[in-house]
Symmetry: C2
């Protein structure tokens, strides 16, 4: 685009979006041109903030006419650089944050239609006011938007029971790359008019269209919960405990997280207010969340105690404590939620968000940790997180004394490649919940089944023939050298 | 294809599949060239029955080379002609029935990997032997295959609790139109490598690829059930009862079906052994299934009684009976399951499988029935089925004295168009669970949102550029006159 058409595009965009809807002010744009972890930096010709779906549609049509690439952005809290434009400055950054209305609540049907810019925490609060609950939650809930959560198929700590974002979306509205609007907001439980268009858009990271609104399913509010913190000898024992808890507790089991001793020590060291809930040391810990909707919460408490008694009797658990109240429950969860920042504070590490078939995870952690520590001398593996989903955050800590930036620069790529190779050999995914973005695109090209790449590329090319939708993210192009 | 390449294709196919794998015998082919309801008839150059995925892959690659269209077929029990070839005789009929092995059971993970040709009833029985349960069930379970159920995203009577086939598939294996094999059988609970490829294939009716195997999720066996048959004044009352049952019974609620008096009378007349479970007449009936996994089944029985007492107290229910044993439970279900054949026996009718947002279904049934009976003089609307899913089978009975074939020929198209127009106005789907096939393709072209058609066509063209995968089914081509 030469500067004349450039100017003409900006003029038209300004006319479409009005005064508040478009800015080129460097100061206003700056916070949104870098991802929140500071790993990716980009430029943009402007920051667009449309107020409604019609404006998004008009803007996308305009971009298509002028061949202006679009980078959609929600809360800018993604983990893979998916919402950061490239350095060229040719792309338009399209923020959905102004579209933050709830369009319709249906308490009977337990549904809400909300716009893409609604922040997750806002949805949680608004649902709670209606005695309802949106069960998906994660660390970034104060900034993550519904549109971003859908586009990246976000996960979190309650996936075990409720599934990822895919399972919460009953319908959606999206602007396609030609500026047309796909509207499936009327939530049908059964619709067999071909393959599922909303599932095609969920997790597509803005490469096939822009999610502008969604119909989400809600749950009744819980009346109480039991939070258990247990010491176990191994991940194998944790897995057996998970199966026992599933069989005994059924739908009451909402969360099942594992924490290695190393990570717990980081948190205890990093958070002065925290304390070890158990008197002895254990190799591994599990955090279990059990919930009830029954006004009488006593049965859940009894069943939880019985579960632990059985687990102790079977030798699955070495020691355990049950939170006596909400304060204690929060303190136990703080140990889990504090791992990421405690590990960052502890020192440099290369991080991975990976999954394997859940039943294989105990062996994977053992064998992959040993293989990687062996190959990269002085490193320590720290795997923690969502055992019940077959998804852990797999960190490889730098050797003692290594300097962060320098060590990561030198070793990071080889370590990640080794982790991803192992995951692929075990039938797993190099991205369990954080998406591909720009961070893992080349690894996807290197490791994915050719049939998968063929479909990704084919669908991308079919729906976005101009290649204007979040270019360079997720889909490795056939012509990119990595894919050769 | 001229006869020389024709012969060369058949020779190569025979060599690929061996003696048992290919036949041109008219008598052997005949039963598979007509759909089970006898509505669609076709021809084929041969019937292929590959023994394994490698043979399917080699055959599809061969078809691609020779541009031979492929019509995949499972149990040939579909409702929309999706597995019947056209009359030209140029297509290869590809049966998956020989691929009927269970590849792997994992009782701990509650998963089974089974091939496309496994019959649903066989899966039910094999799961039961392992104290497990595959919850999806439907009338055609004695012939429907897993591959067909996946390709058409089958539903049935337990969708309310367990979802359609989409929700049961943890992974799948499929042969793509170029003969490559997509293998996602290793079941990952979390995988964010872009959009969900298995959801793209599920419900695509063989137009994007051929499902050869799948990893399916299983449930623990139930220990007991309560089956309720209740008379209610209106569908509105039935809907309120459904919400009450959902709030009170939670995950125990597995089925909630509605039956109008007219349909019950058909069944009572057509099945001499059946009897009306209630002493008085009611405008509408509901059949409720509640299940438990608890070894002690008494609590479910108590909760069911309490539910009905509340419903009677609130005036939601006029009268009700609870099956005292399995024989009675089966007898109640037979009243529901007998509707289709009883209605066929009663006389000519035009049938539709439609959905609207569940909460709107009571009003839809009332208003659509009145509008259609008014417009098509002498007809009677009979809507029955899955109220909880927002999906009913909507029949319009012919006026008394009308002659089946002749009346349907004259009025059928106009009636169906009117029903589909109404459904579309109400934000619903012209195919809730039976798929599009060849039966509804032109109606889809007429009524679908242009954005939906753009995606369907774009993805079809991208993945099957030669157009050899089940041509003429599901996807209305842009060039077809109906789509103009």
């Amino acid at each position: 685009m030469n500067s004349a058409t450039h100017g003409s595009f900006l003029e038209s965009a300004q006319a479409t979006l009005g005064e508040r809807g478009l800015t080129r002010d460097a100061e206003l744009m700056e916070p949104w041109l870098t991802d929140w972890r500071g790993r990716y930096h980009g430029n943009a010709i402007a920051l667009a903030s449309p107020a409604n779906t019609a404006e998004v549609a008009a803007l996308v049509a305009l971009c298509a006419r002028h061949r202006v690439p679009i980078v959609p952005q929600g809360g800018n809290s993604g983990m893979s650089g998916g919402a950061t434009p490239d350095a060229s400055g040719t792309a338009l950054l399209l923020s959905l944050r102004r579209m933050d209305s709830f369009r319709r609540w249906d308490e009977d049907a337990r549904e809400v239609v909300c716009e893409a810019g609604v922040i997750l925490q806002t949805l949680h609060d608004a649902a709670a006011q209606r005695a309802l609950r949106f069960p998906l939650t994660l660390g970034g809930r104060g900034s993550a938007t519904i549109g971003g959560l859908i586009s990246t198929n976000a996960g979190g700590t309650q996936v075990l029971r409720h599934g990822t974002m895919r399972a919460q979306v009953l319908g959606l509205e999206a602007v396609l790359p030609d500026g047309s609007v796909l509207d499936t907001l009327a939530a049908l439980k059964k619709d067999n008019r071909g393959f599922d268009l909303k599932q095609l858009l969920i997790g597509s990271e803005g490469t096939l269209g822009i999610v502008t609104a969604a119909t989400l399913s809600l749950e009744p509010q819980i009346t109480g919960r039991q939070v258990v913190f247990a010491g176990v000898e191994s991940v194998q024992q944790a897995w057996c405990l998970l199966l026992l808890a599933r069989d005994r507790m059924g739908a009451a089991l909402e969360g099942f997280e594992i924490i290695p001793r190393l990570a717990l020590e980081s948190v205890l060291h990093h958070e002065p207010a925290s304390r070890d809930p158990l008197s002895d040391r254990h190799h591994w810990y599990v955090l279990i969340e059990l919930v009830t909707h029954d006004p009488d919460t006593a049965p859940l408490a009894e069943q939880t105690t019985a579960l632990l008694e059985t687990a102790l009797g079977k030798g699955l658990v070495e020691d355990a404590t049950i939170a006596a109240n909400e304060t204690q429950a929060e303190a136990l969860w703080a140990l889990r939620d504090g791992i990421s920042s405690a590990e960052r504070a502890h020192g440099p590490a290369v991080q991975h968000d990976i999954s394997v078939p859940p039943a294989r995870m105990p062996d994977f952690i053992d064998q992959a940790s040993a293989a990687l520590e062996d190959r990269f001398e002085g490193t320590r593996a720290v795997a923690f997180g969502h055992l019940g989903d077959g998804n852990v955050h797999f960190h490889l800590r730098a050797p003692t004394g290594a300097t962060g930036g320098e060590w990561e620069e030198r070793e990071g790529k080889a370590i990640s490649a080794a982790v991803h190779d192992l995951v692929t050999q075990w039938g797993g995914s190099i991205s369990a919940e954080h998406g591909i973005g720009q961070m893992k695109r080349d690894e996807l090209a290197r490791l994915a089944d050719p049939a998968r790449l063929t479909i990704l590329r084919g669908v991308k090319q079919a729906l976005d023939p101009l290649g204007i939708m979040n270019p360079g993210k997720l889909v490795p192009l056939a012509s990119s050298p990595q894919a050769a």
